[in-house]
Amino acid sequence: MPKKFQIACIQSSIEVIDDPARKDNVIARNLRRGLDIAEAAVVRDEARVVVFPEAWLQGFNHKRTPEDWKTVCIEIPGPETDVIGAFAREHEVYVAGAAFERDPDWPEVWFTSGFIVGPSGTVELRYRKCHEHNVEGLIPSVCPADVYTEYVRRYGEDSLFPVLDTPYGRLATIVEHDVNFFELSRALTFRGAEVLLHPTTETNGPMAETRDQVRRSRAYENLVYLASANAGALSGRYSAAQATRGGSTVVNYLGHVDARIDGAGESVLVSTVDLDRQRKRRTEVFMNFPAQVKSEFFGREFEKQTFMSNDTGGDARATAKATIKRLKEEGVLAPE
């Protein structure tokens, strides 16, 4: 096991699927272009773990109908991850990303899913995004919690928070909005994660700076590396080319930014993950938050209050509205 290795964030240019009928062509072009620029990072900079943005293959188009969304979904594993698998096998690397995904055995719903394809050429980790903008009515997907009982019946409880043990440390994925929820990074840390791979799509806006800080907080409070790959230049009918602000970043286990792409547009970031130093740091008492946190105590506290309830189905926005109303009744939120 190497003491340190190189990690690459691919800030891909993404062609958005505007016409679902042309899905396969667009995905093939996105795959080809992404893997080509990743190859440079792998061959020249010896990157061993490669992270792609959230909607690398399909892009976001908020004019899609619910049927369109289902059409643009891929299967994981599927032909697309086979292409990635060939690349991963050839170069003996781990490739992470996220995509809109449909399980053919459960056609009623679809997810945004993180994945890691390994040197075996197969999907070695699949994670379904726990916190999605369906809650804001922006996308008609579901999160595992929305369909919790059925989800756990199909995939088991451990499938919610997967961690992959590799020669390059224990890897886990969190996707975009997930980073805002500290419980997820903590749960993955409790399950052994050392490097959080964060495929993301972050646009310009009032929360841009706050988001940057949140990434660093997650790394700091869990003594983990966090590698965020944001989307690069977009091309699509309704997509401003530089709508995402770029800024792909590798944060180290002290919460310091090791490397960062300055702006928007297609780019690549390669940085070092020093696993051995991270592991040494984790043996020290001083500010060792994952060991110092009173987990059981807080778990019991969290059991007392439900914010978004499980099993409320796909209309997460309605659930959020109902949650606000209930929290006001319970006095958790003060009346306006």
């Binding site: 096991m1 726990c130 804001e136 595992p144 919690a145 919790y148 928070f161 440390g169 224990r170 805002n180 419980e183 997820l184 903590r186 749960a187 409790f190 399950r191 052994g192 050392e194 700076e209 706050t210 800080q213 949140v214 660093r216 907080s217 700091y220 409070e221 002290l254 919460g255 696993l275 051995d276 592991r279 043996t283 008492v285 500010m287 938050f289 994952p290 060991a291 110092q292 946190v293 009173k294 987990s295 059981e296 105590f297 807080f298 778990g299 019991r300 506290e301 969290f302 059991e303 439900t306 914010f307 978004m308 499980n310 926005r317 959020a320 949650t323 606000i324 006095g331 003060a334 306006e336």
Partner: protein
């Protein structure tokens, strides 16, 4: 309800109590300095409604000191030393919060790292005892409510006593101290109890953790849609002897050295008022005496909390995580239920035992060539 008002974090150079017989005089001097600066605010800036003082701001913290001596130096809450601050609150119709070492005779042989809040009536409206700190870091010997959980919950009338929140005309206020802010679980637990404005009495030293620690305040504010007011020390002036301190004029080098348990500017200041979007609304960015003054807009906060977009608090999925927390064993509670903490090494050993267990069970991976130290008897007990 007062919708808009001014809040102030008051940052001073704190005088340390080194010689116990000087306790009263030094506390008085610290209190007087705060009163002067708070008077200055009301003269220069008009009326502020909320003042926040740093952690252990009246005695300083002497890390090497017996529990017995601490119980004599620590204050009562409320108590005569805090009376002038309570009077200021009453006369100015304001709220005054701060942190202090506390002794409560209901807990013999223990002392707490606490925070208080006086309201416009001059009464104590809130008292909080720090939950995360010396009990996991081992830098000093104060007790925490979780360290003697069963006893504490019994004495204080229930589990809610650990996360006190007070509903006032200026919003729902809660107190936390210093290291607490590094645990996102803490402000979330307070948010569950209704907190809207978190008063963070802190004492943050320089170090490689400075920036991410400061960032924690902003992340906590954002992820809970709450104001966070962090009041840090501007510096520490240790007592050399009598009424001579490390920053007194006319000291020669050796005399100054004798007083420097810690450097005068060990603390980086940087007191802040952070709004509910995680943005800094007022700051005193440097060390030294300073005021961080900023606006609080309670209506804006309550309207924001009723919006769904980027409302991380409301969007939380507690149900899928509560079990992850309860079944995972990190640091436990009731470690000092029977015998109060007597030496600071006990806390260190307790965290060492968790790390050893993590390395054994694979929560942490060992660094190359790592040889676990033979566990002491105490560690074996903690592991069991």
């Amino acid at each position: 309800m007062i919708e808009k008002y001014t809040a102030v974090a008051v940052q001073t150079i704190i005088r340390h109590v080194r010689e116990p017989e000087w306790r009263d005089a030094i506390i008085r001097e610290n209190v007087n300095r705060y009163l002067s600066l708070m008077e200055y605010v009301s003269c220069r800036w008009g009326q502020a409604k909320l003042y926040v003082l740093p952690e252990f701001s009246l005695t300083g913290v002497e890390h090497v000191r017996s529990v017995e001596e601490w119980t004599r130096i620590a204050l009562r809450i409320p108590g005569p030393e805090l009376e002038p601050l309570a009077n200021f609150a009453r006369i100015n119709r304001a709220y005054v919060a701060g942190g202090t070492m506390e002794y409560d005779p209901a807990y013999p042989n223990r002392w707490f790292n606490s925070a208080y809040l006086f309201g416009p009536s001059g009464d104590l409206v809130l008292r909080y005892r720090k939950i995360n700190g010396a009990d996991v870091q081992g830098h000093t010997t104060y007790s925490t409510p979780t360290g003697c959980y069963d006893l504490y919950v019994k004495n204080e009338g229930g589990e809610d006593a650990l996360f006190p929140v007070v509903d006032t005309e200026i919003g729902r206020l809660a107190l936390i101290n210093c290291y607490d802010i590094n645990f996102p679980e803490m402000p979330r637990a307070f948010a569950q109890h209704g907190a809207e404005i978190l008063l963070h009495c802190t004492g943050e030293p320089y170090g490689p953790h400075r920036e991410p620690w400061e960032m924690s305040r902003r992340t906590r504010a954002y992820e809970n849609c709450m104001y966070v007011i962090s009041s840090n020390h501007g510096g520490y002036a240790a007592q050399v002897s009598g009424n001579v301190f490390a920053d007194s004029p006319g000291l020669n080098f050796q005399e100054r050295r004798d007083g420097e348990i810690s450097p005068l500017h060990r603390s980086h200041g940087g007191s802040e008022i952070v709004d509910f979007n995680g943005k800094v609304a007022g700051a005193a960015p440097n060390p030294g005496e300073a005021l961080a003054i900023g606006p609080i807009d309670l209506r804006a906060l309550r309207e924001r909390r009723a919006e769904i977009r980027d409302n991380i608090l409301v969007q939380s999925r507690t149900e899928i995580y509560a079990r992850e927390y309860t079944r995972h064993q990190a640091t436990g509670i009731n470690r000092w239920l029977e015998a109060p903490i007597a030496h600071k090494s006990e806390a260190r050993q307790s965290t060492e035992a968790v790390i050893a267990r993590y390395l054994r069970d694979g929560v942490y991976a060992p660094p190359e060539g790592y040889e676990p130290a033979a566990p002491s008897e105490q560690q074996n007990r903690a592991l069991a």
